[in-house]
């Protein structure tokens, strides 16, 4: 019995050591920063293309936590990320004003589009006026799938509804359907119930379950989608990797970083347009 118990505990100990031993990258101490960003940049494949380029020049690994803009800002406010890389300027400015972040830099833009069923029950295809298109969708009570998750895209969408003067909350559960989930999940829902939806172009380009959906509204200046990057304030949290985080921010807005963003193609189409301010302007 005693030797059996001994053997068993030896086995357990060996198992524990095997399980807990650091295997390769990831567990081992390596030079890295954590970036809180959005599902749209992750789903578009931009990071997979961009980050190895930055790693090569800097030797700094970048760990991206991709969530909605609202949650990304919450993570950064708690000091759980070194850099915030999102797309809702008013929230970003507020983040800086409240002292959670240092300076905010423009990095790149793409645009939002309204997608919907090819049959187009609200007759909005080709409409260059997004507010008029949304008004038409509401008038027909055509199904509209909203993120409903406080993300950058959701905030944008709510802002556009405000401009139509329509109170979509009263229609929630009717034709206005809040999925409370990410862009991809919302597009899956829209695809399944033939609903209209507002999406960023990059996620749409990379989305594999388009079903009967097509792009209906694009090109309105109000559909502009600006991305910004902010270093989390190292004075608030002493563990923030200020130097390495700043190196990433600097690289994104540098000539090299901007050229890399501009060169990225998604299914042959440009997904993002670099527009950081030129140094000294």
């Amino acid at each position: 019995m005693v030797s059996r118990v001994f053997k068993l505990s030896a086995l357990f100990a060996a198992m524990a050591m095997m399980l807990m031993a650091p295997p390769s990258a990831g567990w081992a101490a390596e030079r890295f920063i954590t970036v809180a960003s959005t599902t749209s940049t992750e789903n578009s494949g931009l990071f997979e293309y961009l980050l190895p380029l930055f790693e090569k020049t800097s030797g700094i690994k970048v760990r991206v936590v991709a969530v909605g803009t609202g949650q990304a800002i919450r993570l950064a406010r708690n000091g759980d990320a070194d850099v915030l890389f999102v797309h809702h300027k008013p929230s970003e400015d507020q983040f800086v004003a409240e002292g959670f972040g240092l300076e905010r830099f423009d990095v790149m833009y793409n645009d939002f589009i309204v997608v919907g069923p090819k049959a187009d029950p609200a007759g909005v295809a080709g409409n260059k006026d997004v507010v008029a298109a949304l008004t038409a969708i509401a008038a027909k009570a055509a199904p509209f799938a909203s993120r409903g998750d406080d993300s950058g895209t959701h905030k944008k969408e709510r802002g556009l509804w405000t401009q139509t003067g329509i109170d979509v909350d009263t229609a929630s559960g009717g034709w206005y359907r809040e999925t409370g989930s990410g862009m991809g999940a919302t597009l899956n829902t829209a695809s399944a119930m033939n609903a209209y939806a507002l999406t960023d172009r990059a996620t749409w380009l990379n989305f594999g379950n388009k079903g009967d959906l097509a792009v209906h509204v694009e090109g309105d200046a109000r559909l502009f989608n600006q991305y910004g990057v902010i270093l989390v304030n190292p004075l608030r949290f002493k563990h923030i990797k200020a130097a390495d985080g700043q190196a990433f921010v600097d690289w994104l807005v540098s000539k090299d970083g901007q050229a890399a963003i501009g060169a990225y193609r998604l299914h042959g189409e440009p997904a993002f347009f670099a527009n950081a301010r030129k140094p000294g302007t």
């Binding site: 399980l19 990831g26 936590v65 759980d80």
Partner: protein, 234 residues
């Protein structure tokens, strides 16, 4: 619905080609969940046995709590562990948020009540059988616990397998505390969630089939070890 046939074909191809990214993801899934179950078993088995053999006030409530916590929603556990491990939280100085260690902690919290509740029932039944012998030999409840755990080891292993199943299949907790970071904290379930959100439904389902196959292999390996042990120590 050709998504299903696509998924089966894709799953076959994934297993046949076995690329490094997939191996890395499966490896991390296994390491995280096995580690979590290991620690959960160390805590859960004696805890369940203690509740089974000791008589104390509020024992019924403890049993009910253990049973109820078998149904802890993973996303709630993830959120609670996130708040604990966040830099703004009480354990923030550890700096383990968004690492596999955080995922082990979350799954451990999730699985411990399950293992404890199931082993409480097993040990209690066994204890009823042994109670008279223990009394005649003057064995204290504390001394009885190791004996009961040892004699019930084969039934108890099912509790541990159930814990492993729950750990390896959940996504809600690990996606919050791990962050689904590529090459760092991306596991099978978070990859499936990510591919679903990209609209790659067939690939997501194929990954689900691969996860099932891997779980099946792990369980079969465990069963054959058990079988071997049963014969060796018969």
């Amino acid at each position: 619905m050709n998504e299903f046939s696509d998924a089966v074909v894709t799953a076959g191809r994934l297993i046949a080609t076995w690329d490094r990214d997939l191996a890395e993801i499966i490896g991390l899934s296994m390491r995280v969940s096995l580690s979590a179950v290991f620690f959960a078993a160390i805590v859960g088995l004696p805890l369940g046995a203690a509740v089974a053999v000791f008589r104390f006030p509020g024992r019924g409530i403890v049993t009910a709590v253990l049973n109820a916590f078998m149904g802890l929603p993973p996303v709630v556990v993830g959120l609670a562990v996130y708040l604990l491990l966040s830099r703004a939280g009480p354990l923030g100085s550890l700096g383990i948020l968004f690492t596999p260690a955080a995922m082990v902690v979350a799954q451990c919290v999730l699985v411990t009540p399950l293992i404890a509740a199931l082993s409480r029932q097993t040990v209690e039944d066994l204890h009823a059988e042994y109670a008279e012998q223990f009394r005649s030999l003057g064995v204290s409840p504390l001394r009885a616990i190791p004996t009961l755990l040892w004699d019930g080891r084969y039934s108890l292993s099912t509790a541990v397998f159930a814990g492993f199943g729950r750990a390896v299949a959940e996504v809600g907790a690990v996606i919050i505390v791990g962050g689904n970071i590529n090459h760092v904290t991306r596991v099978m379930t978070t990859t499936i969630a990510l591919e679903t959100s990209k609209g790659n439904l067939a690939l997501a389902l194929a990954l689900g089939l691969v996860l099932l196959a891997v779980s099946l292999a792990a369980n079969m390996a465990a069963l054959s070890v058990q079988d071997w042990a049963r014969k060796a120590y018969a």
